[in-house]
């Protein structure tokens, strides 16, 4: 296969198609920065999808549980040993993803005789101020997307992850239109639930190109909330605490949802 470059390209394309098909059913995850922290949220999942990685870093992931577990362990190991040998302040999400996770995922993906990582991950690192929040999405092939300022885009204080590209893009355009940064937790919670609903609706219909009507989103959200549990976690901005991650309970969140 090495002597036949065309076969290699074909194998990679097949592999990409296969992985995308496996990820399609992944329930969306929304991550939103608000005044006092960052909220991760998803709904109706069979197993845990939002995890603490280090003092200021959390992760949400969809994919095969075995692969998610290996990547999660690797991220925790890397962050913990770095924090131990240097300082917790030296653990940086940017370095963790760019220098450690992405290269390994890329080579696993391209070595067509080995197994790729069947996972798509969303990381966030809470900053001192909302402008310093960082969101990074890592694909199964090691591709990285950021919500930070780049040459191509201005900053966004949110990020989304979903089973299909189309669903994720709809969530992003919904949040871009609806979500004001530096807001209260309640507002962030409501936007996260709506963004999840937009993403999940797109997964159900399959070929949605336009954002659904406002009323349709609300109706869908209420229906889903009646049948599914909420999984959520926050990274708190409060600098007086070392460990910022806290998992939120379904019941305490429902008390804050009003319409």
């Amino acid at each position: 296969m090495i002597e036949e470059p065309y076969r290699w390209v074909e194998a990679i394309a097949n592999r990409r198609e296969y992985i995308e098909a496996q990820l399609v059913s992944g329930s969306p995850i929304a991550a939103l920065g608000y005044r006092d922290g960052i909220l991760f949220l998803t709904l109706g999942q069979a197993r845990q999808k939002i995890f603490e990685i280090y003092d200021r870093i959390a992760m949400g992931a969809i994919g095969h549980p075995g692969d998610i577990e290996r990547l999660r362990m690797a991220a925790i190991e890397l962050a913990s040993t770095e924090g131990f040998t240097r300082s917790t302040a030296d653990v940086s999400l940017r370095r963790l993803v760019h220098y450690s996770l992405s290269p390994v995922m890329k080579s696993a993906f391209e070595q067509v005789y080995g197994a790729p990582y069947l996972a798509r991950m969303l990381f966030a690192e809470v900053g001192e101020r909302p402008e310093e929040d960082l969101f990074l999405r890592v694909e199964y092939d090691g591709e990285i997307a950021t919500s930070g300022t780049t040459f191509a885009q201005t900053r966004q204080d949110f990020a989304a992850l979903s089973g299909t590209r189309q669903s994720r893009e709809l969530m992003e355009s919904f949040l871009k239109a609806e979500y004001a940064p530096d807001t209260s937790f309640e507002a962030a919670l409501k936007s996260a639930l709506d963004a999840w609903s937009v993403g999940h609706m797109a997964l159900q219909t399959g070929d949605a190109k336009e954002l659904p009507e406002r009323s349709a989103v609300t109706k869908y959200r209420l229906e889903q909330l009646a049948n599914s549990g909420i999984e959520a976690g926050i990274l708190e901005r409060d600098p007086s605490r070392g460990i910022r991650y806290r998992a939120l309970l379904d019941a305490e969140l429902r008390a804050l949802i009003h319409d």
Partner: protein
């Protein structure tokens, strides 16, 4: 080929390495010291070591949880090298390790312990049990025992924590240098000044105005200050209260709500009223 991020055997084990093992695998922590009791010629070597835990640490249960106090003096032989040493260390939201012994080893142990508990919670998605935490410290002491036999790195800590399961209560342990742990019901003291402190706490608990567990916070702080001042009276390695320099012992309290560090102003006020 790129080295895999995670070793395959770990993937199958179902449980992660404990944190010290992970550090050793990555070459970030020295190997456990080997106790070389038998010399090259096969004779049993008789070694003895000088107790080097020059300090005074005490802890006792009172009505508001566990109070842990330590003096601030660090010594090297007969020389006072530092008068603001911090020997009462927070390990997590509900656990305190107070140290007597060689600071370099003790602080390293505290760092390993702090990361171990968090590493366990993050990888296993549950809090380490109190028994697990107590064992983790015991294992670190055991790993260090070879250095103790060589006359360096002796650490004799106290561990105080709040256990929410199954019965919510404060729990207090002291250790020996080999890593044996002893749970106490009322009080513990360690370091060179501890004999007099133990005497005071025993007397107070049995024949004082009320037993230690019934004391209010101010009364508890007062007893802790008096005990440390008494230890400093005869032990040159214990700082006690530095009246001219206005340096007070470090006092922390573990309760159901977590750890509170008493502000120096509060300690100074109790000192002025009941001790000075």
């Amino acid at each position: 080929m790129e080295a895999p991020l995670v070793r395959p055997d770990q993937t199958f084990s179902g449980a992660a390495d404990d944190f010290p093992t992970l550090l050793r695998r990555k070459g970030l922590l020295g190997p456990a010291a080997i106790v070389d009791a038998v010399g090259p010629v096969g004779k049993l070597q008789q070694r003895s070591w000088e107790p080097t835990e020059a300090t005074t640490i005490l802890a006792f249960k009172f009505s508001g949880g566990v109070l842990v106090a330590g003096d601030r003096r660090a010594t090297s032989g007969n020389t006072v090298v530092y008068d603001r040493a911090d020997k009462v260390l927070e390990i997590d939201r509900h656990s305190i390790m107070a140290i007597a012994g060689v600071p370099a080893t003790a602080w390293e142990m505290a760092r390993v312990l702090e990361h171990s508990f968090q590493y366990f919670r993050r990888t296993q998605l549950q809090e380490m049990s109190v028994d697990g935490k107590v064992r983790a410290l015991s294992k670190l002491l055991r790993d260090n025992f070879g250095f103790v036999m060589q006359g360096v790195g002796m650490v004799v800590p106290i561990f105080a924590t709040y256990d929410s399961n199954p019965k919510p209560e404060a729990r207090l342990y002291f250790y020996d240098a080999m890593g044996a742990q002893f749970e106490v019901t009322d009080y513990a003291a360690t370091g060179s000044g501890s004999p007099s402190v133990r005497g005071i706490l025993y007397y107070q608990n049995n024949w004082g105005a009320k037993p230690l567990q019934k004391l209010s916070e101010d009364e508890a702080v007062s007893i802790a200050l008096r005990a440390l001042d008494t230890a400093a009276e005869s032990d040159t390695s214990t700082g006690g209260v530095d009246r001219s320099g206005k340096i007070y012992p470090l006092i922390k309290i573990v309760s159901r709500e977590g750890i509170t560090t008493l502000p120096e102003t509060k300690i100074a006020a109790v000192f002025k009223k009941t001790v000075a």
